[in-house]
Symmetry: C2
Subunit: 145 residues, 2 copies
């Protein structure tokens, strides 16, 4: 388990860095994404629920859900036994004075015993809260063709 | 030219709709994206600069720029004569009480006289301002392979 979750000792200091593309935001986003994919690729996807809040929103393909319970249920019910995400690109921007961070990830995803990875794109909006971050927005799309 | 830019009569009413996945956000995002790609695919890309502000940030592949002038210069200097974006998926979420909107687009892009489109993903963070929206964050990545 990295320092991002659930230790919560990490301090964002986001708004001070708004004027530039601070490496800090990329560091937070990378740490978050590493934890997120390790958890969703692991044996207990329900562990992801700690990063959502009652007003958090998730779009997974054409399905949209809101709130910790609905998001957790959706993640657990995904009809895949094995997942393996590999990040190809990760870009992060500060998204305002609040210290929030917008993250765009593109990558490849191996599903169950398929030999060929599926490309995907995922966008997260991370919001600071008490020295750590939660996920306000999570949009996932497979890239077909 | 649609109603999104530059007429500015459109009223967001974003925060009232925060509790649900209001169609409104998708409508704004669709209208914005339609205008954006029509403009960047057109003969004068500099017209895009009206949607950025001094603190706006753009990542185009590995290049990061900030501010209207730098973003405009980057857009104009892209080494492509002809572009043709086709949206495959567009998802939009309200991104907080401020009425901001997070948009994730996946699509295909024909560059110059290439016969085969290139897949891409693009994330926008749209922020309400005086009855219209500006782009705070713009992250673009081609999807290779």
């Amino acid at each position: 388990m990295g320092r991002f979750f659930p230790v919560g000792l990490w301090c964002a200091g986001g708004s001070k860095l708004m004027a530039g593309f601070a490496a800090n935001f990329v560091g937070v986003a990378t740490e978050f994404a590493t934890w997120y994919y390790k958890t969703i690729d692991g044996t207990d996807r329900s562990g992801l629920s700690v990063v959502y809040r009652p007003h958090s929103m998730m779009t997974f393909e054409t399905n949209q859900v809101q709130g910790v319970g609905a998001i957790k249920e959706k993640l657990i019910s995904l009809p895949f036994q094995k997942l393996n995400h590999q990040i190809s690109t990760l870009d992060a921007h500060p998204s305002g004075e609040s210290g929030s961070i917008i993250v765009l990830i593109t990558g490849q995803l191996l599903i169950d015993d398929n030999e060929h990875p599926q490309k995907y794109s995922q966008c997260f909006h991370l919001v600071p809260e008490g020295g750590t971050y939660y996920v306000l927005n999570d949009i996932f799309r497979l890239i077909y063709g």
